[in-house]
């Protein structure tokens, strides 16, 4: 400390400075001990008060939450608003763990993980007994710092808070530990979950894996069989049953379970936090996620509704194409054609867009042809189909679907020989395409190549034995 002070000036003394005025001599005073004590008391009280204020100030400020972080750049206005709204709540009540956590989840769902992490730390500090915040931290850690994920899961469990979140954390931790072959700890956690819910399929599946890891294959088989019908467990359970069957030399069962697993769609376990935060997803990306979900579930009318809302805001080629596709799916060909034409006009250099234009045009021709074969305008439409498929395959040479539509259009134009090339190219790309084999068979039959047609129809039948069309075509061929 001393070293940092400026050099002290020596006190001038009268002796050293003869020019200085004479010092005033004060008479000696007698100090009253009582007043001295009073001074001491006053000083002490003052110091105490100051100390107290200092301590209060420090405690207050050290406990004061930091400013909630704001992501540096948010391009999507809707996302920006959602984030600002959630942040404003934090600013209004900076000691509310729930508001910090809610803000963190909004950030998290929009992929602002760093900022979300900061908020979750604060939420957990303000309310250490809420399992949601360490659980959410574990979700981030699993992506960014997987070795630390168990720490947060343990914290979530230790809160003994909302059982739904504690249970989710316990399952996640059990599975992480199982993957790391910490078998006993994993088993303990799975068994804890079985307590309140005997037969919980996730716990049973976990215990089956524990049994497998210990080499207790009969127990593993029994447990896996008991959860085989559960929609969330089925894919994994049947895959493991296939492994166990092969291990005991039962190849037939191994292949049967293997097929079952391969043909089962993976369905993740419900997650109380993840399932909830998806609803917080707004803006373009949120809408895209919802559309993807609707399309995956075959809810095309709902997907179209989302697209219509988007179209009201922006008529980009991408949005127009999506709207056209879903419009086609719900059977509104005219609307679909209008939109896809608009999209192609805006950006003709997109294979998928050109293909969709061809598909919609072709579908319209096909329907009208069924009513009025060779109707007026069919040729022009089919030529437009061919133009669009050609452009699509120029842009994307591995577009099997475009080659198929191209071949079909040529078939309708009664040029089967020309149709052979695009159909064969399509099959080079996608040799297991049922429609390509079927169409090639029809085209070959019309060129008089009966053996070739037969092979194509047989191939189609092999791919989908339940579709009657290859059989019908083969019957027709054999009657000729």
């Amino acid at each position: 400390m001393k070293a940092n002070l400026p050099p002290s000036q020596p006190n001038p003394s009268p002796e050293q400075n003869p020019d200085s005025p004479l010092p005033v001599v004060t008479p000696p005073t007698t100090v009253n001990p009582r007043s001295r004590r009073r001074v001491w008391i006053l000083v002490s009280v003052a110091v105490l008060v100051l100390g107290g204020i200092g301590a209060w100030w420090w405690i207050r400020n050290s406990d004061r939450p930091p400013d909630p972080p704001l992501p540096p750049a948010i391009a999507d206005e809707e996302v920006k608003q959602a984030i600002e709204k959630a942040r404003a709540k934090v600013l209004a009540s900076p000691r509310s763990a729930d508001d910090w956590g809610a803000y963190a989840l909004v950030l998290l769902v929009h992929d602002f993980e760093r900022e979300a992490e900061t908020c979750l730390v604060e939420a957990a500090r303000l309310n250490p007994s809420d399992p949601r915040w360490p659980y959410a931290r574990s979700l981030i850690a699993r992506k960014r710092d997987p070795d630390n994920a168990p720490k947060y899961l343990r914290q979530a469990i230790d809160t003994n808070g909302n059982p739904r979140y504690v249970s989710a954390a316990r399952f996640a931790l059990a599975e992480v530990l199982l993957e790391r072959q910490e078998i006993d700890s994993a088993e303990q956690l799975f068994r804890q979950e079985l307590g309140p819910d005997p037969g919980h399929p996730r716990a049973v599946l976990g215990l089956a894996q524990v049994a497998m890891a210990r080499g207790d294959e009969p127990t593993a088989t029994k447990l896996l069989m008991s959860v085989r019908e559960n929609v969330h467990a089925r894919k994994q359970a049947t895959a493991l049953l296939a492994v166990l069957a092969r291990t005991r030399g039962d190849e037939q069962s191994a292949l049967r379970f293997q097929d079952e697993s391969n043909n089962t769609r993976a369905e993740g376990w419900p997650d109380p936090l993840l399932d909830r935060i998806h609803d917080l997803h707004v803006g373009k990306a949120g809408r895209e996620r919802r559309i993807e979900m609707f399309e995956r579930q075959g809810q095309y009318a709902e997907a179209l509704r989302e697209y219509r809302e988007l179209l009201a805001k922006e008529q980009t080629p991408k949005v127009l194409t999506g709207a056209a596709l879903n419009s086609l799916r719900v059977g509104n060909h005219d609307e679909a054609l209008r939109w896809v034409r608009q999209a192609v006009k805006l950006d003709p250099n997109d294979a998928q867009r050109q293909y969709l234009l061809a598909l919609i045009l072709y579908s319209k021709v096909e329907m009208q042809w069924a009513r009025t074969p060779g109707f007026a305008g069919a040729k022009e439409s089919l030529e437009e189909v061919i133009g669009a498929t050609k452009r699509a395959t120029e842009l994307k040479p591995d577009h099997a679907g475009a080659y198929w539509i191209w071949g079909l259009a040529l078939k309708y134009l009664d040029d089967p020989k020309a149709a052979l090339e695009p159909l064969r190219k399509g099959l080079t790309i996608s040799p297991d395409d049922f429609e390509l084999h079927l169409t090639l068979g029809q085209v070959l039959a019309s060129t008089g190549d009966k053996p070739g047609a037969e092979v194509s129809f047989e191939n189609a039948r092999k791919i989908d034995p339940n579709d009657p069309r290859p059989g019908q075509e083969l019957d027709k061929l054999r009657q000729k």
């Binding site: 000083v43 002490s44 420090w58 997987p146 790391r180 092969r246």
Partner: protein, 586 residues
Amino acid sequence: MPQRASHRHQIVVSVTLIAVTGLVTGFIGCSSSKSTTEPTPEPVTDGPNWFEDVTDAWGIDFLHDAGPTGNYYTPQPMGSGAAAFDFNGDDLLDVYLLQFGGPNSKSVNRLYRQTAPGKFQDVTAGSGLDVSGHNHGVAVGDVNNDGKPDVLLTQFSGIKLFLNLGGGKFADITAESGLVNLSWGTSAAFLDYNLDGWLDLVVVNYLDYDPNRECRFTTGELDYCGPSKFPGTKSKLYRNRGPQSAPGKPPSVAFEDVSFASGIGRLVGPGLGVTPADFNGDGWPDIFIANDGEPNRLWINQKKDDAFADEAVSRGVAYSAMGKAYAGMGVAVGDVNNDGLVDLYVTHLGDQFHTLWRQGPRGQFRDKTVDAGLTGTKWRGTGFGTLMADFNNDGALDIAQVNGRVLRGGPGSDTGLGFWEPYAEKNQLFANDGTGKFRDISPANKAFCDLWNVARGLIAADFDRDGGVDLLVTAIGTRARLYKNVAPNRGHWIAIRALDPKLNREAYGAEVRVRAGGKEFVRLVNPADSYLCSGPQILHFGLGTADSIEWVQVTWIGLDGPRKETFPGGATNRVLTLKRGEGKSS
């Protein structure tokens, strides 16, 4: 009273001190709690240094052209591979390195001839292999059995086959060969799946890519797209119908696309890695394909009608032990615990474990990553090229892998990699203790592991023929690097070439066992593993302290069934050429 006053004074001082100390400790507490969230420096563990960078000294000046950056063309970060093969038959391994500059780029693939051990010369010009394009993978095999290895390239939207004409010249015979692959090809492998003596071809295809799809990183910046954004594509199998000759036309080979008949073309899967081997021990080559984020495939040869059946699920290699379909990239194959059965190691993303599936009994695999000690690594990375090789010749296969992200967010800074910096990671090296358990010796191996790179291809080969397995690494947008093996106290070794004189080429698919020092070691004649790469056709065995070998047994494959021949042993530390028919049948 003075005592009381003094006491009060002490109280005041104490309270003040407490307040002040509180502030101070508060600050100390803050700073210490902050420091716990910061990464602590990794203690450097002792371990042997096995490699030194000899790229410049050995004359490899290849700089990978990744093409224009900034448009986030998703095929770009998948990178380009390399091949190590003896194209001119002088018993020295040459190197072929691929470019990704695009079809109109001036950057062409480069061929380096090894003129003397550890001395390479660029012989690209006029070789016929000097092609540009979006080149990903390379496979090497003698497709017309003329004794000269030919070259197959996979590209984004295409494949090319080059016939080795001799004299350092190659001819593009793609059109004549009938090979067509319009999909996004990645790794490829030659194998004789129908045992007719002609090398067939499997090409792994990746995604049905749509260049108009835009993807962004979490910070909102444009980035490459992950595989989940596009559907997968189907891989290809081509049957080699043998050489074709027509008057006035150069020699060629005819391939037939049997993807549909084989079943391989019926299942989609974003495939990246491939390795063929007789996994179930029936004498017929099978095919393992690593898929990115989808279950892997183990195509078991049905021995007739070109048919294969995917049995990855029941044989235990489709998923990790936890039933997860990780992002499979590179594939390494080898017997890590010397039990006579080859195991599989597949690299994944950095937030997943790379998986070691150990085989046993034959044809069945179990995820033994944890048992093998491969989960507690010093750092994590998105692994691509990987392989098993005995770097210190102690008789146990070690594992090397090269890393580099496909999406931004990497930890590197001041790497000098420019645009590629956010994708850079460090490579890893794991030493086998002899029982199939591994120790991470990456920190001690600075040359190979302490360099930020976006690495993709990895080849292990004893380039300079000094008995130590060296490494060749390809990386996006930067130099390919050669690492010479400088492992101290290396054990004895033997290198084996297994030739089939009737076929006039290396006996792809043969299994070679060496007995030495009371142990047996197994290797497969198969240059196709790792990622986008083709390795040497010569097999390297580390033998530890054994200074002689007792015998060598080769299981040759063919239509007359697997045939075993035993060859006499002898001295170690040499290259042994074994020819079918010259051993003792057993």
